[in-house]
């Protein structure tokens, strides 16, 4: 349980064998390629071979898009929980059927594009139909804008303007004009105005004060009714075409699995081409560099001896540590905590793997905050079902494991606090037998009645947690040769802590003068050491500010950190209280109306709904607050983050998994 030791790999391989070598390495799944480090002079002799990455990327995207389209038009019916199928690595590396799959994907995408265009055409036709509605009563063809002597104007007024007023204004211009009301709706009245051609400009001027909006129908011939019917025909044709396109996509649903496999094959091809992009070529020979876990060297050697290649590995020097990718070596228990570590940031190479230190605290704190036998059982069951059905790997596996261990701790703490869906056993027993004197499930402590005890317990656990972090920090400092740092920073705090404990023992338990003096002496030694340590690297007046800074940081930092653990008690109590209230509400109908089918049905409904809400809230809330205690308080004491994750060349398909060796 530590950070995996990495070795730097340098590799030269004949160009003709490169593809085959990379295929072997992706099967092996333990080498991460990186940019070649090489001096400028040597670089001149090398060049980058042509890259196929862009083409591979677009193939991969096209296949993924086709799968998404297929899923949209012909959703796949599959059981809710199922693991993706597993195939041999060779199947994923076989590119022979990729061409056919790409052609199929092209057909699916083309049909999808056509459907989108049909959608646009349909809305255009609908808009035209809409605009024709007011003109349906008009028999005049819409393309008639003039006769031999007259001009014809189509348009609308706001509905509040009475047509007679417009007629008056028109009469003032010329007698040879007429206004025909075609139709009216909520917003406007639609009219046709006919006037002699000579009077048209004046007429338009006269109409302007009435907000007359002229309307024209370019490209349309015949009366509105006929145009509208034509739109209707076009819409029907488009709907038929759309249906045909959708049917053609649905017909291809039988080849969905082939398409998915092809998408993952394209992904493997893309991964390989990205790796080979990192190589530099002399013409016939390719030079590559990368990292591999030291323990996999024998396996790599076994593969490489089959090729015409030269290679060497070496331990990274300390200056190279920031470039070394980080992988954590975990067992089944600590693997669960990868979720937390990876979300925060991996530890820097050459420092401490926090997972084994964090695991017992994380799981214990989670159990304490959730503390309910019923909730614990649900979590364990959910985790086990998911692990069996989904056969998760990587991040999802860590999540399931965390859920499982958290569930075990929750149930165990539930036994200690006597909580089973809060206090439902107590409530039910007293419902059926009101005279019962049963006090509820056995408990060691109850968050509701011993809340002070639980609070102090939380703070003590917090102290333990923080001190574990400090032990790690001190050990790391000593390993790096900074013994003074460990003595003055962690050491002086521990002396202060011992002093404080002595003082507490004196005040609360023993009351002895000798102990009192000893406690003060220890506190003074600790204080002086702390101040000296803070000022030891500063000069002149800097020593004073450093000392004040140290007092402030130690006092506020430590108190803040320890008090922060009170959230353990707060969440433990809150979950219990909310659950208890739901139980009380659920049991009320039965209490007031007697035990019968309806009141018990009401009990079940309220109980299930209420606890579902409380469970979901606590599941997330406890995780977040546990996370905070680890990442802020605990990591703050020792953690050096900034490791970049180890991403070896391996299969990473979305739909199909490669069998693990």
């Amino acid at each position: 349980m530590a950070i995996v030791t990495m070795k730097k790999l340098r590799l030269m391989v004949a160009r003709s064998q490169k593809d085959e070598l990379l295929r072997e390495l992706i099967r092996l799944g333990c080498v991460e390629f990186s940019e070649l480090e090489i001096d400028a002079q040597a670089l001149e002799a090398l060049h980058r071979p042509d890259s196929e990455t862009l083409a591979n990327k677009s193939d991969h995207a096209a296949l993924l898009h086709a799968v998404a389209v297929l899923d949209r038009y012909a959703p796949e019916k599959k059981p809710m929980l199922s693991a993706p199928p597993e195939v041999d690595g060779d199947v994923l590396l076989d590119g022979s059927e990729l061409g056919a799959a790409l052609a199929l994907a092209g057909e699916i995408s083309a049909a999808d594009d056509r459907i989108k265009r049909i959608g646009a055409e349909e809305s255009r036709e609908r808009a035209v139909m809409e605009s024709l509605v007011p003109w349906l009563p008009l028999d005049l063809p819409l393309d008639v804008t003039e006769t031999e002597r007259c001009s014809v104007l189509l348009g609308s007024f706001p509905v509040k303007i009475p047509p007679d007023k417009v007629r008056e204004a028109m009469a003032a211009v010329t007698d040879e004009a007429e206004l025909f009301e075609v139709s009216a709706d909520k917003r406007a009245s639609y009219v046709m105005i006919v006037c002699v051609k000579e009077a048209l400009p004046e007429m338009q001027e006269a109409l302007r004060p009435f907000d007359f909006t002229a309307q024209s129908f370019p490209g349309m011939s015949g009366p509105a009714r006929q145009c509208s019917a034509e739109c209707g025909t076009a819409l029907a044709r488009l709907a038929r075409e759309k249906e045909a396109c959708e049917a053609s996509i649905r017909d291809k649903a039988s080849r969905r699995d082939a398409l998915k496999l092809a998408a993952d094959r394209a992904e493997a091809k893309l991964t390989l081409s990205e790796a080979s992009d990192l190589a530099l070529s002399t013409g016939d020979v390719l030079v590559m560099q990368g990292w591999l876990p030291a323990e996999k060297e024998a396996a790599l050697e076994e593969v490489l001896t089959r090729f015409d290649c030269a290679w060497e590995t070496e331990e990274p020097s300390e200056e190279e540590y920031p470039q070394v990718p980080v992988s954590l070596k975990n067992n089944k228990l600590t693997n669960a905590l990868n979720m937390v570590t990876e979300m925060y940031s991996l530890p820097a190479y050459g420092t401490v793997d926090p997972n084994p230190l964090m695991a017992p605290f994380f799981i214990l704190f989670y159990g304490l905050m959730m503390a309910d036998i019923g909730y614990g059982i649900i979590m364990i069951a959910a985790a086990l079902v998911a692990m069996k059905k989904l056969r998760p790997r990587g991040g999802s596996l860590a999540f399931c494991q965390l859920l499982l261990y958290g569930g075990v701790a929750t149930a165990a703490m539930g036994v200690l606090t006597g909580a089973f869906f809060s206090d439902v056993p107590y409530q039910l027993v007293h419902l059926f037998n009101p005279k019962s004197t049963w006090p509820g499930l056995w408990h060691l402590f109850s968050p509701e009645y011993d809340s002070e005890l639980v609070l102090y317990g939380s703070l003590v656990l917090g102290m333990l947690h923080l001190n574990t972090g400090m032990v790690v920090s001190a050990r790391e400092k000593i390993r790096r040769g900074d013994k003074a740092g460990a003595l003055f920073e962690e050491g002086s705090l521990w002396i202060l802590l011992v002093g404080a404990l002595l003082m507490a023992a004196d005040m609360l338990l023993v009351h002895s003068a000798a102990l009192h003096i000893a406690a003060i002496a220890v506190l003074v030694i600790g204080g002086v050491m702390l101040l000296f340590g803070a000022g030891r690297n500063a000069k002149g007046f800097g020593k004073v500010t450093a000392a004040f800074g140290c007092i402030y940081n130690t006092a506020t930092g430590w108190f803040g950190d320890v008090l922060s653990y009170s959230r353990i008690m707060a969440l433990m109590l809150a979950g219990g209280v909310v659950g208890k209230v739901f139980n009380t509400v659920a049991i009320m109908p039965a209490q007031s109306g007697g035990v019968n089918v309806f009141t018990m049905l009401a009990f079940v409904v309220i109980f299930v709904l209420g606890h579902a809400i409380n469970f979901a809230l606590n599941l997330l809330g406890c995780y977040v607050h546990d996370l905070r205690l680890q990442c802020l308080e605990f990591f703050g004491k020792f953690y050096a983050d900034g490791g970049k994750p180890f991403r070896p060349l391996k299969f990473g398909g979305r739909f199909v998994r490669a069998k693990e060796n």
Binding site: E448, S451, R567, A570, L571, L573, A574, V577, V578, V581, T584, V585, I613, L617, L620, G621, V624, H625, L627, R628
Partner: protein
């Protein structure tokens, strides 16, 4: 004091229970409303995200629940003796109800804003939407503390 006596302890106690439920519920209504507006905008573009948007929308709803829990406990405590409560007892109940009333009101609105912003994460980076959820839950903690404060105070009142 005489004025308070004319009102009576029972009325004060009921007032406390009422503000616990009412203010916390107003906060939740506002919080879920803010998140719901953002969620509706997203769902109009991408209906497949409605489930996740809904989860983010309901997060600021818990304060109303906490308010109701305290209302329920306070009401249960005083319902049998409304007529005989002293003014002091009534004011004790009001004080006990204040944390969740005010904390619930304000934290739900604040959480609603975070939830609305998290819906943006859901829109732009759907894979990272759970991080938004975590940010919402951090606001939740203060509502939980208010719930506990009210709960512990109610427990200490003798009637």
């Amino acid at each position: 004091m005489e004025f308070l006596n004319t009102i009576g302890g029972g009325a004060l106690a009921l007032l406390g229970a009422a503000i616990a439920a009412a203010l916390a519920c107003v906060g939740s209504a506002k919080g879920t409303g803010i998140a719901g507006e953002a969620g509706a905008g997203l769902v109009s573009e991408d209906p497949s995200k409605s489930g996740k948007a809904l989860v983010l929308q309901v997060i600021p709803g818990t304060q109303g629940l906490y308010g109701f829990v305290i209302f329920f406990l306070a009401f249960n405590k005083v319902s049998a003796s409304v007529a005989s409560l002293t003014v002091a007892q009534g004011l004790q109940i009001v004080s006990a109800c204040l944390p969740i009333a005010l904390g619930g009101l304000l934290s739900a609105i604040a959480q609603g804003k975070v939830a609305a912003a998290s819906i943006n994460i859901l829109a732009k980076k759907p894979d990272d939407w759970t991080k938004g959820m975590i940010m919402c839950v951090i606001v939740e903690f203060y509502a939980i503390l208010c719930l506990l404060a009210s709960f512990l105070m109610l427990g200490a009142i003798n009637i």
